[in-house]
């Protein structure tokens, strides 16, 4: 009786839809709650690098610190500047946030898993697009809007300057980022992220085949997510706080959330493109390897932040256009020659 029910095509379709909906909800919730422990980890790592303890008092070893921060941010007064454009001001954080989440629609976390009761195989990704990596790059490019609009809508000189500079920086480095990805695509012969990971199975990780591409991707990735050494638009020292200077309370929280989610998505991309995704020795399931690699890369990003000074804006743009772009074109050329 149950099997008959299952094999009805309408029910099958509904189960498919249900599975996709569950995946979307799970991914969204996980990604939404990731920044909370990430802020704690960042502050702890920063503390230990800087010969101090980091958060310590709120909960054992400061574990509850992110919770305290969240409560504080929720209760802060929501200030909208006097002559700010209210529509744009309110929408900008959301426009910034959505692309950061939308990227995760194509990210594969592992191969298939079987759900015991229904005996159904579920793939650990929401959708395997043919044009997976192009989709990721395109959606990542949309995050520029939140920043520009945030800076503009605040009606403040500082915020506008910060917003424009940040967006120009992101657009410039998108090019180098995309070109670095092209190298990977040429090696794997497919745009689909699942194919890219599958092609690296058995320790054929792309970092061995695309070392230059990896370096370019790493540097351009840091610039895309506005982290040191490329975080001048957010530089507290110079311009206050850049494009989100005038935001307070939850709107500011959304911008911060976006920054951390972007950091996670860049690390995830790096793992998928260059470090073999879920590839690893069999004693741990693939998804655990995936998470270990992502965690390591996030750690390296945080480490870099507290070690290096930051570049000046014109130096930043010089690196993006005059150094990374020609290098990435060279990478494509070399890859093309070798592949053919």
């Amino acid at each position: 009786m149950f099997e008959l029910f299952i094999s009805n095509p309408l029910v099958l379709m509904m189960i498919e839809v249900l599975v996709i909906c569950i995946k979307v909800v799970v991914v969204t919730l996980v990604v939404f709650s990731l920044p909370l422990p990430l802020t704690y980890i960042e502050r702890k790592v920063a503390g230990h690098i800087q010969v101090r303890l980091g958060p310590y008092r709120v909960g054992p070893h400061g574990i509850l610190q992110p919770l305290a921060d969240m409560i504080k941010l929720i209760f802060k007064e929501d200030i909208i500047p006097y002559k700010a454009d209210p529509w744009l001001f309110k929408i900008a954080p959301i426009i910034a946030m959505v692309p950061a989440f939308a990227v995760f629609a194509t990210i594969p976390f592992g191969e298939k898993v079987t759900i015991p009761f229904i005996d159904k195989e579920v793939t650990l990704y929401i959708s395997d697009m043919d044009t997976g990596i192009l989709y990721v790059l395109a959606i990542a490019g949309l995050s520029v809007y939140g920043i520009i609009l945030g800076g503009w809508a605040s009606n403040s000189k500082y915020a506008l300057l910060g917003g424009l500079r940040s967006s120009a920086q992101m657009i410039s480095y998108e090019l180098a980022l995309s070109f670095a990805c092209i190298g990977v695509v040429m090696v794997v012969n497919s745009l689909s992220l699942v194919d890219i990971v599958r092609a690296q199975s058995g320790w054929h990780w792309n970092i061995l085949y695309q070392p230059l591409g990896f370096v370019i991707f790493a540097i351009a990735g840091l610039a895309e997510i506005n982290r040191i050494p490329f975080d001048l638009p957010e530089d507290e020292g110079t311009l206050g706080a850049g494009y989100h200077a005038e935001y307070s309370s939850m709107r500011f929280a959304f911008f911060m959330l976006t920054e951390y989610v972007a950091m996670v998505s860049m690390s995830v991309l790096m793992v998928i493109l260059f470090f073999g995704g879920w590839d690893g020795p069999g004693f741990l399931p693939g998804i655990v390897w995936f998470l270990i690699k992502v965690a390591f890369i996030i750690y390296v990003i945080i480490w870099t932040r507290f070690t290096y000074p930051r570049y000046r804006y014109d130096q930043l743009m010089t690196i993006g256009w005059k150094i990374l772009l020609p290098l990435s074109l060279l990478n494509i050329l070399i890859t093309g020659l070798v592949v053919i």
């Binding site: 920063a46 690098i49 507290f306 000074p309 014109d314």
Partner: protein, 594 residues
């Protein structure tokens, strides 16, 4: 170059002046080891030009420009110029008397561009007008303030500021000073009033496409309450104007109402990162007036404490500069080392920063037991820590890109703008007061003065690192050579007696009581004493009228003159470079605004 030679140099300069301007020089004095002449105001320009331009005289550096208000004398004011020769450290003091009815003088900005802000301060504080000054307006007090605070008939008390909550309850009082244009005569706070009202006069064109950006006074990177009005042409700076006075607390005025030992505590707070240097300069000035001889042990320990303070100050300077450019971790590493020095100061005096340990006549007390061992740790621990900072910064390509070639100023220009300390030495000018006119037995020790070549931010940073190493060298030598002996001069009328005697000797008790309560009279006279603080030439000009309180308590802060170089260094640079430039000047607003 010893003191006698320097005095002879100044005296020969005066001979030359008398040759050229026979009737100009009224009075020559060599009191207290300084050479000073009094000149009539119509001959001032000629005399100063002679002093600067004649090649064998060449007093090419303006150390200080200030004024004194002799209320009961005629003429009432005296404008005092201290000119220094960088060749051999000779100083000459030129004084110009002025009456209240005609407080006008020609400006010497054409000869010494660094007199710009000094003359503005004299105008602000005394009401003396300087003709031909490019921009004579108030510098420390707010625009529109009426009255001249350092005049002797200006009361030292504050007046109530009318906020909304106390406006109605404030009584109507006739006040000798009111803010122009404000109703009721009270100082009222209006946010709109905080704009730069005379844009054109300052040369800010406000042309299309140029943004006028206001950096400060509240800003995380301006090292204190410094306001920079910047005109931007895109990303590049076309004009930058520093505005100071936000930290003005009237230290100089307060000093005139405190006894000499009490005024010592004020000096810690002027340049609050180099407390002991302030103490030292003040004590040197007062000891010169008193004619006190300081025992050798006290002098050596003074050197030791000052070099420790220099270490602490440079650690903070480097750490803060690194933090502003993004390398936050260096700040925390530097502060970790600074804590060691703060602990030493705390063990010494109970206070981490404002120790006031160097007092008139020597030190406050003998070093506590065990302190010397703790100080011996410093030259053992620090060298590898300094190497650690260098590892993080000096070879770092990002650091090099942010500091090399940025903020260039030539030696000549720096000198003419009154710069001193690492700012001046970065451009290759070898002027360190510890070598040029040694004080407190600095000539007993062996050390080098690091010099820069390129005059950019990187060189000044390297100079600070090297100066830290040289300070460690001096500390090692002091510890090795430290003689035994008293730490206070042998003059009970001035120096507090040792505590053990208080229980036994009636005389000591009387002395202690008199010194601590009413101070001690200092013979009349005036003197200018300088030390090499971490920021440059720090000088105290004390005028005494024979009473227990200083008649004029003038602090020549190095950062006041150093800040004048900002427009020259920040021309055509990016706005992010301004942060690096200010970090390399390392100003402390305490001695800028006092």
């Amino acid at each position: 170059m010893n003191q006698i030679f320097r005095m002879k140099r100044s005296e020969s300069a005066i001979q030359r002046i008398r040759e050229v301007f026979p009737e100009a020089v009224h009075n020559i004095s060599t009191l207290n080891g300084d050479v000073s002449i009094t000149v009539g105001k119509d001959k001032l320009l000629g005399v100063v030009k002679l002093l600067k331009k004649e090649s064998d005289i060449s007093f090419d550096y303006l150390s200080d420009l200030t004024a004194v208000d002799y209320l009961r004398k005629e003429p009432r004011f005296e404008v005092v110029y201290h000119l220094t020769s960088t060749k051999d450290g000779a100083i000459i003091r030129v004084k110009v008397p002025l009456t209240l009815s005609e407080p006008v003088l020609p400006s010497i900005t054409a000869l010494y561009p660094s007199s710009d802000w000094y003359e503005r301060e004299v105008y602000d504080m005394f009401g003396i007008v300087f003709n031909d000054h490019p921009d004579l307006r108030r510098i420390l007090m707010p625009e529109g303030w009426r009255g001249h605070p350092l005049r002797k008939d200006y009361p030292p008390d504050g007046e109530e500021v009318a906020f909304t909550y106390n406006k109605d309850s404030m009584e109507e009082q006739p006040l000798p000073f009111i803010l122009e244009g404000k109703r009721d005569g009270y100082l009222e706070f209006t946010p709109d009033g905080f704009t730069l009202s005379n844009l054109e006069r300052l040369g800010l064109s406000g042309a299309r496409g140029r943004i006028i950006l206001n950096m400060g006074p509240q800003h995380p990177s301006t090292h204190g309450l410094l306001r920079l009005v910047i005109e931007l042409d895109g990303e590049r700076i076309s004009k930058i104007i520093p505005e100071i006075g936000y930290l003005h607390t009237g230290i100089e005025k307060s000093g005139e109402y405190l006894t000499y030992p009490q005024a010592l505590t004020l000096t810690d707070r002027a340049d609050y990162l180099a407390n002991l240097f302030n103490n030292l300069a003040y004590c040197m000035a007062v000891e010169r007036l008193l004619g006190l001889e300081i025992p050798l042990r006290a002098q050596y320990i003074r050197v030791l404490l000052c070099e420790l303070n220099r270490l602490a100050s440079h650690l903070l300077a480097i750490g803060v500069m690194a933090h502003e450019l993004g390398a936050t971790s260096v700040l925390l590493y530097c502060f970790r080392e600074r804590e060691i020095i703060m602990d030493i100061f705390e063990m010494l005096s109970g206070v981490r920063m404002m120790t006031s340990y160097i007092t008139i006549g020597g030190l406050r007390d003998e070093l506590p037991e065990g302190l010397l061992d703790k100080i011996k740790e410093v030259p053992k621990i620090f060298p590898e820590k300094i190497d650690e900072y260098e590892k993080m910064l000096t070879k770092n390509p990002i650091w090099l890109k942010r500091t090399k070639g940025i903020g260039y100023i030539s030696g000549k220009q720096a000198l003419s703008l009154g710069a001193s300390g690492p700012l001046l030495r970065g451009s290759g000018i070898n002027r360190d007061l510890r070598k040029a006119s040694p004080y407190s037995s600095y000539d007993h020790f062996d050390f080098e003065v690091p010099l820069g070549e390129n005059g950019d931010v990187f060189d000044r940073y390297m100079i600070r690192i090297e100066e830290m190493r040289q300070s460690l060298r001096i500390i090692r030598q002091v510890i090795d050579k430290l003689p035994d002996g008293p730490v206070k001069a042998d003059n009970r009328k001035v120096v507090l007696p040792p505590r053990e005697e208080l229980g036994k000797s009636m005389e000591s008790l009387i002395h202690h009581f008199l010194i601590a309560s009413g101070g001690f009279p200092v013979p009349g006279g005036e003197t200018y004493a300088t030390v090499e603080s971490p920021r440059g030439e720090l000088g105290y000009y004390i005028v005494s009228d024979g009473s227990e309180k200083p008649y004029r308590f003038r602090i020549r802060g190095p950062s006041f003159a150093n800040l004048m170089s900002i427009p020259a260094m920040a021309r055509e640079c990016y706005i992010a470079d301004v942060i690096a430039i200010i970090g390399s000047i390392d100003p402390v607003l305490g001695d800028v605004d006092r």
